[in-house]
């Protein structure tokens, strides 16, 4: 049913309809409305049977999910940023043991400096944790991906994180078609665990594995993620048949057929990018966009196919590998190795800095005019003057002080908001 609803609320209601049996909740901005929503649904009995555990940390949240999943329950949690890092050890544990836990990640920047706004540094920091990573462009897609995530996780026995941009999606009110309980039940069967702690048939889970077998066990994780490359489109297709709309999948091209320039991005920024593509197309530019919906496993073939015919590719990403370059950019270059397109890595939107139509127009203008050096990592809207000044300060003076405070002072930002 179509509703004008907050993203978090939509996710909470949808997750509830997926019938999780254990929800572990620890609050962190900007995910709080999701766990609050689920608490209400459990209390009113709308979601039952479900144990709602108010754990003492994110580490405990993921650990409780591990225990619950091991005991055969469908388990769910949500987090962001620092919380994801705090459960990092448990993330690897969950994927290593093959538990089909689903988690919403409300993408938020990782500190220091502390920052509560959106970027992808959190999910990117855990891209190798063995978790499947799906990225939602809209709140509708966020809702749809949760359904697909539970099904996918339980099919391949791997945990899945559904990434949705913090604040930008979680706190946005927009129309969402919420799937009805019957529809969900038809799409998502009861969880049949592949391994379960059961006194009737005792098993040992989590034993040490030495050099004799570790490689094989790890390889299996990789093999399962590779298998997911087939499952994801299959499930998306099944979803489309049942619900009548396209959501998820591996990649989604937008006007790329004859495009000379293709912009690659993940998450909500694709909306703004699509608007700009339309604007430029109207002006005669042959430009398109490619949304990467599934980042792990990495859809190498699909990316290669979508981008292979372009002259240039502009990757816009909300995170980067410090000291090394782009992350999505690296993966795109890998997909395109041996093929002609020039790849530009652009980092934008860090710590919640808005990616505006204006900036994108300027960027694409530079790209099309070949003003952007392809081998350099480019930071969109970077205030170079601020940076130069701080670098200069570092050289002089005995005790230049913390970077962040110096830069903020230079900027003259009043703590109470700068609008």
């Amino acid at each position: 049913m179509l509703e004008q609803i907050e993203g978090s609320a939509a996710v909470a209601r949808t997750v509830a309809r997926c019938r999780p049996e254990v929800v572990a909740a620890y609050p962190i901005s900007p995910q709080t409305h999701i766990v609050e929503g689920l608490s209400d649904l459990v209390r009113t009995g709308e979601l039952e049977p479900c144990e709602y555990m108010m754990v003492e940390s994110e580490f405990a949240a993921m650990s409780a999910c591990i225990g619950a999943s091991a005991a055969g329950a469908r388990a769910y949690t949500a987090t962001a940023s620092q919380g994801l890092l705090y459960m990092a050890e448990a993330l690897f544990n969950a994927s290593g043991l093959g538990f089909p836990i689903v988690m919403t990640l409300a993408n938020r920047a990782i500190g220091a400096p502390i920052n509560i706004w959106n970027d992808h540094s959190d999910s990117m920091s855990q891209r190798d944790s063995g978790w499947i990573q799906l990225y939602a462009e809209t709140n509708q897609e966020a809702v749809d991906l949760h359904l697909q995530a539970f099904k996918l996780a339980e099919r391949v026995s791997l945990p899945v994180m559904v990434c949705m941009d913090g604040f930008i999606l979680t706190h946005a009110y927009e129309e969402v078609d919420l799937p009805a309980q019957e529809q969900v039940d038809e799409f998502l069967p009861t969880y049949e665990p592949r391994q379960v702690l059961d006194p009737a048939e005792p098993v040992t889970i989590g034993a040490m594995v030495g050099p004799e077998a570790f490689s094989e066990v790890k390889y299996l994780m990789h093999a399962k993620q590779m298998q997911a490359l087939d499952e994801i489109p299959s499930i998306a297709s099944e979803f489309s048949d049942r619900f009548g709309r396209d959501s998820g999948g591996l990649v989604r091209p937008y006007r790329t057929d004859d495009a000379e320039t293709i912009v690659v991005a993940l998450g909500s920024v694709l909306g703004t990018i699509e608007d700009v593509v339309d604007e430029l197309r109207a002006g005669g530019a042959r430009i398109g966009a490619l949304g990467v919906k599934c980042f792990r496993p990495y859809p190498l073939d699909e990316v290669r196919e979508a981008l292979g015919g372009a002259e240039r590719v502009v990757v816009i990403e909300k995170a980067f590998a410090v000291g090394a370059g782009g992350i999505v950019g690296q993966n795109v270059r890998l997909a395109l190795s041996g093929l002609p397109p020039r790849v530009h890595d652009v980092v934008a939107g860090l710590g919640g800095r808005p990616i505006t139509r204006q900036s994108l127009l300027g960027l694409f203008d530079d790209v099309l005019a070949d003003r952007l050096e392809p081998r350099q990592l480019h930071f969109l809207d970077l205030n170079r003057e601020l940076v130069e000044r701080e670098l200069e300060r570092m050289q002089k003076g005995r005790r230049p002080g913390p970077h962040a405070e110096n830069i903020l002072r230079d900027l003259g930002v009043v703590a109470a908001g700068s609008h």
Binding site: Q4, P30, I116, A172, Y173, E174, D275, P354, A416, G417
Partner: protein, 193 residues
């Protein structure tokens, strides 16, 4: 597409205002998107929220830099923050105040703009009267409905009732209608935005 930017301080329902506006548009079968900027949650800090309304699906995600309308819930922000950035000559301004534009020292702002689109409305007073609390957002939405014709007052009422039950809902609706009536009396019926 019509873009509304709402300014106020934490605790005045700025975020809710944008959400309710989006629901009102949704009720009328249009597409709408509402979202806030965020600081840490604390009362009194300047807050901005945004609402886009369109007949097509809305894809843009950036904050509204070029609003078609501004709603200012707290006049103490007027000379502290640049509230009017990006507003074009045809833009609407609705300010929560019992004083006039001139009295608020905004006379200059009116130059080159359409006078019937710039208004103050004593929304906090309406709220106090009908709701018993000085939360002006619902009243401002009612006033805005009258000012812009963007959404109907009935849609605003529906959106309010969906969010707030019982007496609180009714109080907010009453405040909205009162402000609607006030603005109507000031400028007559507007051309639909």
């Amino acid at each position: 597409m019509f873009q509304v930017r709402i300014h106020g301080r934490g605790g005045q329902g700025v975020v809710t205002a944008a959400e309710l506006l989006s629901v009102a548009a949704f009720v009328e079968g249009r597409h709408a998107q509402a979202f806030p900027t965020f600081g840490s949650e604390r009362t009194g800090a300047p807050v901005v929220s945004f609402c886009r309304i369109d007949d097509e699906a809305i894809r843009a995600r950036e904050p509204i830099a070029e609003p078609d309308a501004l709603i200012v819930q707290d006049p103490t922000l007027l000379h502290q923050v640049d509230l009017f950035a990006g507003l074009d000559a045809d833009g609407y301004i609705l300010i929560n105040s019992g004083r006039s534009f001139d009295e608020l020292e905004l006379g200059e702002l009116r130059e080159g703009r359409r006078r019937e689109r710039l208004l103050t409305v004593p929304a906090t007073e309406f709220a106090r009267e009908h709701l018993g609390r000085p939360v002006p957002n619902a009243a401002l939405l009612g006033g805005f409905a009258a000012l812009s014709g963007l959404i109907s007052i009935d849609s605003v009422a529906k959106a309010i009732r969906e969010r707030f039950a019982g007496r609180v809902g009714e109080g907010n609706v009453a405040a909205a209608r009162a402000a609607f009536g006030y603005v109507r009396a000031e400028i007559g019926e507007p051309a639909r935005a």
